[in-house]
């Protein structure tokens, strides 16, 4: 029986310069931040990052490791505008493919289904077709209507954070929304899932209802046990967003020095140290 347990560093060792990496979660919600931090500490570069973006995209813009970003939005939710993403866009330091939120979903679905595109109405008439000159329309063979041909967004790797996973790589979502984590996994050649707690195979049913097990091991390649692994984004019901640390992160976009200081304190540290900081910060909030 396969045992896919590994560490954040094992995941990073599987990544290569220039890869296209999809990141699950949504905005500042259930992002695989411990794996993202491991990437930030690595020499990886020229990455294309595909996400419903939050601090994952923000931080990879801040380090310059994201060469290209593909997104429907980038937001911290309670702080609507992601400050590091804004800096990167306004200084022109990152290539961007901006999409309607639904188009991003469709691009992942096309990749998952191994077709080159899927048609949709979304995007017609909007700036999306102007700012992405590679996007094409398609004429329906059943009546001639012109629709957007959303190209498949094939991923080399998907990174997800779940509430629970078993050691074989089935992943479980105990909050109200699993967002598009299952699509990211299906759209990727390889998928790594971090989670709050790893359980024995067959025991996820003790943790929550059957329908909360949203990603099958068919689609996953590695499982990282990472308690507080989504921190400072939220991972309900395990923990809420850490608004205090998120504000500190947002403030770090105001000057290069501020990011250097944030990075030294929260990124360039062993995960065990980060976890202590996170526990302390969350305890202060309650």
């Amino acid at each position: 029986m396969s045992d896919k347990r590994c560490t954040e560093d094992d995941v990073v060792a599987e990544l290569r310069d220039g890869m296209t990496i999809g990141i699950g979660g949504w905005g500042s919600r259930r992002k695989p931040m411990s794996i993202v931090r491991a990437i930030l500490r690595s020499d990886l570069r020229d990455l294309t990052v595909v996400a419903y973006g939050g601090p994952d995209i923000g931080m990879l813009c801040a380090t310059g490791q994201a060469h290209r970003i593909v997104y429907g939005f980038v937001s911290l939710d309670s702080i609507p505008l992601e400050p590091h993403f804004r800096v990167a866009r306004q200084q022109g330091t990152v290539e961007a493919m901006e999409l309607d939120e639904g188009m991003l979903q469709l691009g992942l679905r096309a990749a998952a289904w191994r077709v080159s595109f899927l048609p949709c109405r979304a995007g017609l008439g909007s700036a999306i077709l102007d700012v992405n000159p590679d996007l094409r329309t398609v004429t329906s063979p059943y009546g001639g209507e012109q629709l957007v041909a959303m190209p498949a967004l094939r991923l080399d790797v998907a990174l997800l954070h779940a509430n629970r996973a078993d050691s074989r790589g089935d992943a479980q979502y105990l909050g109200p929304d699993w967002y598009f984590d299952d699509l990211f996994a299906m759209a990727a050649d390889r998928t790594f899932v971090s989670c709050e707690r790893v359980v024995e195979p067959g025991r996820l049913v003790d943790e929550g209802p059957l329908e909360s097990i949203r990603v099958s091991r068919i689609f996953t390649d590695g499982v990282v046990e990472a308690p507080l692994g989504a921190h400072f984004t939220h991972c309900v019901p395990d923990y809420d967003r850490d608004e205090v640390l998120q504000r500190e992160y947002a403030a770090s976009a105001k000057a290069p020095d501020a990011w250097t200081a944030f990075r030294a304190k929260y990124v360039d540290v062993p995960e065990t140290d980060y976890r202590k900081l996170a526990e302390h910060s969350l305890a202060g909030a309650s």
Partner: protein
């Protein structure tokens, strides 16, 4: 009972959903949220509201309510389902707008050239898909020539001229229902779908609306005053939906 501007705006937002029946109301912002919930509690009882997260509610909850507020949950609406609803045409969203032009093109994405914006904002979010699939309205708390512009910098929500140019698939389900601001209610019910004044809030003159708009507004001969909140509207707002008066923070009292 005395009426505040915020309450007039809430009622104007509520009116945007009149006649919509049993569809999903998706308001962004405090005043639109109060509007949708007020509509559901008064003249549109089958309108579907949510908790702003993944739950469809049986009865509207107050704005700013804590996550653990007591609520009647009817159904589950995670984001994946949300796109299904949007694309199936059973929704009417009221979004914000950093810029709007005379044909209802809306921008929330960025200011300046998209390639290297002067100010990066939200990105287009769901606006392109919303506008070609379902009725869409906009809420502008500060009506000014900086918002109501001749041409928006990045077309996020699609207006009438751009939809027409994109063809029948874009126009088939396209409708910009109205734009509500702190000055009045505006719609596109003109021969060329150029924005016209539908009503002005109490005390607002045509000249004030014209001056605050960066393009020529269509002004009918007879411009009515926006409907005033009824005593029942005010009671529901004060006792049920917004006891802490969050409505006043979004638009001056």
């Amino acid at each position: 009972m005395s009426t505040t501007l915020a309450e007039v705006c809430v009622v104007a937002c509520a009116e945007a959903w009149r006649g919509d029946g049993e569809i999903l109301a998706s308001p962004i912002g405090v005043i639109p949220t109060l509007g949708a919930r007020l509509a559901a509690l008064t003249f549109e009882p089958d309108l579907v509201t949510t908790d702003g997260d993944a739950s469809q509610l049986g009865a509207p909850i107050p704005v700013g309510a804590p996550a653990d507020v007591e609520k009647v949950v009817e159904a589950w609406l995670p984001f994946g389902k949300m796109f299904d609803i949007v694309w199936s045409g059973r929704r009417h969203v009221m979004m914000g707008a950093t810029q709007v032009d005379r044909f209802g093109n809306q921008n929330i994405a960025c200011i300046g050239p998209w390639e290297k914006p002067k100010a990066q904002l939200l990105g287009v979010r769901g606006a392109p898909g919303n506008t070609v699939n379902d009725p869409t309205s906009y809420w502008v708390p500060q009506h000014s020539p900086r918002v109501f512009v001749e041409a928006v910098d990045c077309v996020s929500g699609v207006g009438y001229d751009r939809a027409a140019a994109a063809g029948p698939a874009a126009t088939e389900h396209h409708e910009i229902r109205c734009v509500i601001s702190n000055l009045g209610v505006f719609d596109f019910e003109t021969p060329d779908h150029s924005m016209r004044v539908r009503s002005l809030h109490p005390g607002v003159t045509i000249d004030a609306a014209r001056e605050a708009t960066g393009f020529d507004l269509v002004v009918p001969d007879d411009v009515p005053e926006t409907r005033a909140p009824t005593d029942d509207d005010q009671r529901i707002l004060q006792e049920v939906l917004d006891p802490h008066r969050l409505r006043d923070a979004e638009v001056g009292g």
